[in-house]
Symmetry: C2
Subunit: 187 residues, 2 copies
DNA sequence: GACCTTCTAAACCGATCAGTCTATTAAGAA
DNA sequence: TTCTTAATAGACTGATCGGTTTAGAAGGTC
């Protein structure tokens, strides 16, 4: 029999895409094995805790990526440049609306009750990091918080509508509108 | 054995709440029977087509409600008053953020591929009805379309974040902000 | 009462679920 | 080479899945 060797990081990325497309409950082990070409032996070798561990590690992986690529830059770099790069990073991460937000999708059904802290933390830190950058760029705290919330709300809503309408253009339009709103607030 | 008699409209409303909380895949027949107190016999009597028919009829029911309560008023009534009532209707329908949008949740996973027309139609008509009212209220077509899209995107995003953060206040804040934006656009 | 239709209850079915186990393979250490 | 260990393939298990069927209860009509 043919034997393929995987790295755990490959496994995380592959399984993540299955959860992203099918949701937590919709992603059965047979779906996962079929779509990833990882056998059950491999999956339970990497994730002895089964589906729940897979989802937890995937969320941690996503979280770490966002911290490095978006939240840290928003906190540490020059705020206007970091915010400008945030729109680009967001657009490419979500493939211009073709890829949904796994954490957002988990939030909408009972999967939320399995990972409440991870879900809450992800969005909380995104809003806080953006609000912090807006404050550093000169906005009052309250306005910064409102604007940051508006941005993350808009991104999530645009992802939902892009999938619902089968029209990814709405995602680009929303990002453009949000960045425009932020820029005019910054003056 | 004790026998309880249900109406089909009761069945639709009860099953709808289960799908809303658990999602399409997450809502197994045993979950549905347990939470609704409807036996399998009753469920398959009302919905011979099983889960798929349940979901289809629930979506049709939701759609009809929105047409009567929101889309028709937006099309037929005085536009500013209809838009003002839309915010209230939206707030009460989604129970100020405690209740998710079933159609939006379906859009995010593969459930979308079972009901693409219903999902697309729901959001398309919402945006069009609101944009139509905005045009009647005096806005240019392009601006009306953009604003209507922004409103529906914001509502969906706020529902996602309300659930993710376990904080329904964000839903009220978003509705207030959106209505403010619309009002200042109308002058 | 008898009869018929509508509806409910629950046993039952094959398929699929998440998860376990055994056998085997590849690769590094000695 | 030989031994050891990490990793893979896939058969297997008991539980649960969506769905079917059978049996009978409730309510109307005559």
């Amino acid at each position: 029999m043919v034997r393929t060797v995987f790295e755990k990081s490959d496994a995380i990325a592959l399984v993540a895409e299955v959860f992203r497309e099918l949701g937590y409950e919709g992603a059965s082990m047979s779906h996962i094995t079929a779509r990833t070409k990882l056998s059950k032996g491999s999956l339970y070798h990497f994730f002895p805790g089964g589906k729940e561990q897979m989802a937890a590690e995937i969320m941690a992986h996503i979280d770490a990526w966002f911290v490095t690529e978006m939240f840290k830059p928003l906190e540490d770099d020059e705020p206007r440049a970091a915010i400008a790069r945030m729109w680009q990073t967001t657009d490419s991460y979500f493939r211009s609306g073709l890829r949904v937000c796994l954490i957002g999708a988990f939030a909408l059904d009972e999967t939320r009750d399995r990972f409440p802290a991870a879900i809450r933390g992800y969005f909380h830190r995104w809003i806080d990091a953006l609000a912090g950058a807006l404050v550093k760029a000169g906005l009052p705290g309250a306005e910064a918080k409102t604007l940051a919330e508006e941005a993350v709300v808009g991104i999530q809503g645009a992802l939902t509508l892009a999938r619902a309408l089968g029209d990814d253009a709405i995602f680009g339009r929303t990002l453009a509108r949000l960045s425009q709103t932020v820029e005019s607030a910054l003056g």
